[in-house]
């Protein structure tokens, strides 16, 4: 039942993404409203499936009151929810629904990826939490980091839109798309603002991980690949922030740096699983 609901949520996200793409090319406000409705519906259904999963998860007494995100399926599902919510809040407030075509694919990809994994790789089995994860940090540390990832996904979408808009104006033959997308400087600003919001969240999440590790294994920092890559992500975004606000560099160079940062986010979340023993969902010891 939970999987069916989740599949519905994934389908709704995909539908919202398609609506966003249609809205990008067709001038029809109704499509934009449809996109929001689909997105909100997707979030609601997703939350319902999350609730069901929670109920199942808490049947095992040791799991009580922890969030069910210890498996790759659970984490990816939560992440796609976070991206959808962040998009709805950020773009909704700034009336930039046009950016849905650049951001929502990540929510849809995450949800579809999680669903695929659940369906074909048996990822929805409910396990008891390993003793190391039975800590109140379980409800804080992963959520904080994934909120940061969701914000960075948003920033990436904005950066992508910026490159598109730049190409449009530079071509000297701007199409209708150019008039629908926000201005180049506005997109640059929004990219900066997203990262400025996400960077503190990321770094605080990393620190929380260290404090948890100190309580569980005695060492604050062990250069485990996941830890290291989250630090690499933070370093790259710190480079971006220094470029932009202290160096005053705007425009393409800084956008590229922020995109490298997001590539690091992707590696931290997905790639590391193939490397890490400690944090790896997908590795054989995980």
């Amino acid at each position: 039942m939970e999987l069916i609901l989740f599949a519905c949520a994934a389908a709704l996200y995909v539908a919202a993404t398609l609506a966003a793409l249609v809205y990008l090319y067709l001038k029809n406000e109704r499509v934009s409203i449809l996109m929001y409705h689909l997105l909100v519906a997707g979030v609601v259904v997703h939350l319902a499936s999350f609730g069901l999963r929670l109920e199942l998860f808490w049947k095992i007494p040791e799991n009580r009151y922890f969030a069910p995100i210890s498996s790759f399926y659970g984490a990816l599902s939560f992440l796609s929810l976070a991206v959808a919510v962040v998009f709805a809040v950020v773009e909704g407030r700034h009336r930039l629904g046009i950016l849905g075509a650049f951001v929502l694919p990540w929510a849809a990809a995450g949800a579809v990826g999680a669903w695929w994994r659940a369906l074909y790789m048996g990822g929805t089995e409910i396990h008891g939490l390993a003793p190391a994860l039975q800590s109140y940090w379980m409800n804080i540390h992963p959520m904080v980091l994934m909120a940061a990832y969701a914000i960075f996904a948003n920033a990436f979408g904005v950066g992508l839109a910026l490159l598109v808009q730049e190409a449009q104006v530079k071509s000297r033959k701007p199409t209708e798309l150019c008039y629908r997308l926000p201005a180049i400087e506005d997109l640059d600003d929004l990219n900066y603002r997203c990262i400025v919001t996400g960077f503190p969240v990321l770094t605080v999440g990393i620190l929380m991980g260290g404090i948890w590790a100190y309580g569980a294994w005695g060492r604050f920092w062990g250069w485990d690949p996941k830890e290291t890559w989250s630090l690499i992500t933070a370093l790259v975004y710190a480079a971006y922030l220094h470029m932009r606000s202290i160096g005053g560099w705007r425009g393409r160079k800084s956008v590229y740096m922020s995109m490298v940062g997001f590539a690091c986010v992707l590696f931290t979340f997905i790639g590391v699983n193939f490397l890490s023993g400690l944090h790896g969902y997908l590795s054989s010891n995980g």
């Binding site: 001038k27 029809n28 406000e29 808009q165 449009q168 104006v169 530079k170 000297r172 033959k173 701007p174 209708e176 150019c178 008039y179 997308l181 926000p182 201005a183 180049i184 400087e185 506005d186 600003d189 160096g247 005053g248 560099w249 705007r250 425009g251 393409r252 160079k253 800084s254």
Partner: protein, 354 residues
């Protein structure tokens, strides 16, 4: 039944239109009332003079025609057109959507239609038919604008330039504009830009005094010609409009200014003929160069796009007109349905006289 008599830029020479346009609306409306018409709306713009009327008399159209001729001072002949019934509805919807305007898709006409309706309402010359018709026309006019691209894209070089600047910078507040030269085109563009509340206007002309003159008119600042490369460091928009034979802004000059700009965008608008700014400047990062030819190209694209959308808009108007006609029929038979519930497939034909 509703009738229409009117003239437009498509059918009628300018002097005749002017004579009609000179008639104040209130006067026209009371004249029509005296003619025995129960409902009438007068739409008077620089390109169009139309009277929409309905009444119980034998032929309200006749009455309106007579009034028109009285105002014009001579028989109208081919200059005026006449419609009645459903054809009037479609025509009004087309007018409101900007499809009949000189510049297709222009937005002013919708406001003018609303004003005309208001005037008639205040003169108590509206009734059920005109009320619903004009309110519906306002809705259709808005719909055309929101659902088709017939009104998208500016069609004058100056407004296209401002549009593009807004696509780069967002709001033009506190942006610095540097004008090279001080001719007529420079002035026109300055006027356009200063209406956007730019931050600072700087004029650099070879003749310092002429620069000062232009700057003063727009609360700007004048600098000596030799200083303009330095100003490239702080300007956001640069307008080239000198009468020079050869480019005055070279790629090297811009390159030197770029490092201190730190990646902020720089927009060159080259409206001089021959060009003031080297083509190679466009190759630089964060620099956008539009020449007069480029801007005219954009205008052409916009106009073509609008025209392309024309068909789509026309079909939209047709559908809405048919809806209205169906509603009108239900009124006639007494089994009145709400406009919202009318099916979208048109029944019967247009131009049908009832």
């Amino acid at each position: 039944m509703i009738v229409l008599r009117g003239v437009s830029h498509k059918t009628c020479p300018v002097e005749l239109r002017e004579r009609l346009a000179a008639r104040p609306a209130a006067e026209a409306l009371s004249a029509l009332r005296e003619q025995g018409l129960a409902e009438a709306v007068v739409l008077s713009t620089c390109n169009r003079f139309e009277v929409y009327a309905a009444g119980d008399g034998d032929d309200p159209g006749e009455a309106v025609g007579r009034a028109l001729e009285a105002w014009a001072g001579r028989p109208m002949g081919d200059a005026a057109y006449a419609k009645s019934g459903a054809a009037v509805v479609e025509h009004l919807f087309r007018v409101a959507g900007g499809l009949e305007s000189l510049v297709v898709g222009e937005g002013e006409i919708l406001g003018q239609v609303k004003t005309a309706y208001e005037a008639a309402r205040q003169a108590q010359m509206t009734g059920k038919l005109t009320n619903v018709l004009f309110q519906r026309a306002a809705y259709v006019g808005k719909l055309v604008r929101s659902e088709t691209a017939v009104a998208v894209g500016h069609t004058s070089v100056a407004s296209v330039a401002v549009d593009l600047a807004e696509r780069i910078f967002g709001s033009l507040h506190e942006k610095e504009v540097l004008i090279l030269g001080a001719g007529e085109m420079a002035e026109l563009t300055s006027r356009h830009l200063s209406s956007c509340k730019i931050g600072r206007l700087v004029v650099a002309n070879r003749t310092y005094e002429r620069g000062v003159e232009l700057a003063a008119r727009f609360h700007g600042e004048a600098v000596r010609w030799e200083e303009f490369p330095a100003r490239l460091r702080t300007a956001d928009i640069v307008i080239g409009s000198t009468g020079s034979d050869r480019p005055v802004v070279t790629r090297r000059t811009v390159e030197e200014a770029l490092p201190s700009r730190m990646g902020r965008s720089l927009f060159f608008i080259d409206i001089a003929m021959p060009r003031d700014i080297e083509e190679a400047v466009n190759d630089l990062d964060h620099v956008y160069l539009y020449s007069l030819a480029d801007l005219e190209g954009v205008v052409k694209d916009n106009v073509a796009r609008r025209r392309g959308e024309l068909e789509k808009a026309a079909r939209l108007v047709e559908t809405k007109a048919a809806e209205f006609a169906a509603w009108e029929r239900t009124v006639g038979t007494g089994a009145e349905a709400s406009l919202g519930h009318v099916r979208k497939t048109p029944r019967g034909g247009q131009g049908e006289k009832s």
